[in-house]
């Protein structure tokens, strides 16, 4: 089993149009690196430096990782990661 990552419309140009892809890793940071290996360029859209971008929401099993350890959030096989850009503006 792997980790399922749901990809938002705006990032599907990195995944060949796929709405969901598989990834592996023991933490969210490792999952992001693994995504980058298979879908080059996607990491930069998720991270700014070493941090998640302010207007990118990431959920592990429905929990916003901002409240669950950020990039250090533990993940394991069978977990679902959802990436959703914030809906926000001025």
């Amino acid at each position: 089993m792997a980790i399922e990552v749901r990809i938002p419309t705006i990032l599907r140009n990195y995944t060949g149009g796929e709405k969901a892809v598989e990834a592996s890793g023991a933490t969210l940071a490792e999952v992001v690196d693994n995504l980058e290996d298979n879908h080059p360029g996607i990491k930069e859209r998720l991270l700014e430096g070493e941090e998640l971008r302010r207007f990118v929401n990431v959920y592990v099993n429905d929990e916003d990782v901002r409240f669950a350890g950020g990039l250090g959030a533990p993940v394991s096989d069978g977990d679902q990661v959802v990436i959703l850009p914030a809906v926000a503006g001025g």
Partner: protein, 151 residues
């Protein structure tokens, strides 16, 4: 062009007036690929601000899961400006992440919470480029009534 039902149009305007002077926000979901804004979903502005809006992150996830389960997509993403014109701000443009959506802007600067006309305008925002489009308000959107399956 955005084609929108009068009832949905009215619901967006009412939400904007109700939340004035804070910005109101929400979406209208529709069946994937149809471009029909059918299901009005007002959202809480987690920023609670007259100059900024942001969907609450937990509500955002709930909303998208619901849309995935229903094979829907965000056809309209709306928010209000309460002191400025109904035109996307630089922040709006920078944070627009649904290239398929109609971005609706309502300005309540003239009448606030009171009755009276509002500016109601719609845009496409793709790769930082804003294109205004016509808004057509109809009594009902063709094809949106439940259809029976003959096959």
């Amino acid at each position: 062009m955005l084609r929108i039902e009068q009832a949905v149009y009215d619901a967006i305007v009412a939400h904007a007036k109700r939340d004035h002077p804070d910005e109101a926000c929400g979406i209208v979901a529709g069946p994937e690929g149809t471009d029909r804004p059918e299901r009005f979903v007002p959202m809480i502005n987690a920023a609670g601000s007259p100059t900024f809006y942001e969907f609450d992150s937990t509500e955002l996830l709930g909303l998208y899961k619901e849309m995935w389960a229903n094979d829907e997509e965000p056809v309209v993403i709306y928010h209000s400006h309460t002191a400025t014109e109904a035109y996307p701000s630089r922040t709006d443009i920078g944070l627009a992440n649904e290239p398929g959506a109609h971005y609706v802007l309502v300005s309540t600067r003239e009448h606030g919470n009171s009755d009276g006309p509002v500016e109601f305008r719609s845009y496409r925002i793709v790769d930082g480029e804003v294109t205004e489009e016509e808004v057509t308000v109809v009594s009902s959107v063709p094809g949106s009534a439940p259809e029976s399956n003959i096959d």
